[in-house]
Symmetry: C2
């Protein structure tokens, strides 16, 4: 298991990548964000998106999937998240883009009220295949602290 | 059409509601956030979630759907969003919850570089059927300014 104590401020990592398909962009948009520029190239061409663009919430969801796959493999002692700060959609995400998710640990804080828990703030950056940042946010994750008896 | 000029700082509105189903919680989690507490009651019972809880990103997506339906009906001149601030998942969202989305306009700022655009910051709050807040965030939305020739 990876605990709060194992997180090192300043450490950077690549969580992984996600290939964006047109079918998935349309499926998410129809269900959760049916604005015209998320539903057709024709409508998107009339906006700054230029052509069909993924919902920003879809980009966030794809990013989460990349992070969860990575953290599950790590057996990281995560307890969920109270939220995120300064989420910014910087550039459109289009079908056939490949997104890469990286993280850098900004800060870690032991809980004052719960000695078994700590919180870790990280800068999460998502870039496309041209290495252009398309989204970033600050994540806040609660993690278990290493129990006194834990050996690994 | 509703333009930037029509947005009034301090104005509050109810965007609408969304009923959360178990099937949808599981479908979203399998695809985008397969952490154990989003996949089964048994795993969630071992955590502070207590029972199956929706991914926070799913709650955000359902919230977006409610807002888009409302704004489409209004014919609001929205141009997409550069991001959100201080997104907080305050309480778990469970299957069979009914979420209600409300907004309050905090601030509006004409663009300095683009005279045809303004940005509007709003506090978005999502409550469940017990009127308990489950999520809030500050939205930032770009809107068209009323063209000199527009009559409505």
């Amino acid at each position: 298991m990876i605990y709060f104590e194992d997180m090192e401020v300043g450490a950077e990592r690549v969580f992984g990548s996600y290939h964006v398909t047109r079918e998935e962009v349309l499926e998410f948009a129809r269900k959760y964000d049916p604005q015209p520029f998320h539903l057709s190239d024709e409508a998107a061409a009339k906006t700054h998106f230029g052509r069909l663009a993924a919902s920003g919430w879809h980009t966030a969801a794809m990013t989460m999937r990349v992070m969860v796959d990575c953290l599950t493999e790590d057996r990281q002692a995560g307890l969920g998240s109270p939220g995120v700060d300064e989420l910014r959609w910087l550039r459109p995400v289009h079908p056939d883009d490949t997104l890469t998710v990286t993280g850098r640990i900004l800060e870690k804080t032991p809980s004052r009220s719960k000695p078994e828990i700590g919180s870790v703030r990280s800068q999460i950056t998502v870039t496309n295949q041209a290495d252009v940042p398309v989204m970033h946010f600050t994540s806040i994750v609660l993690m278990l602290r290493r129990p006194p008896s834990a050996s690994d």
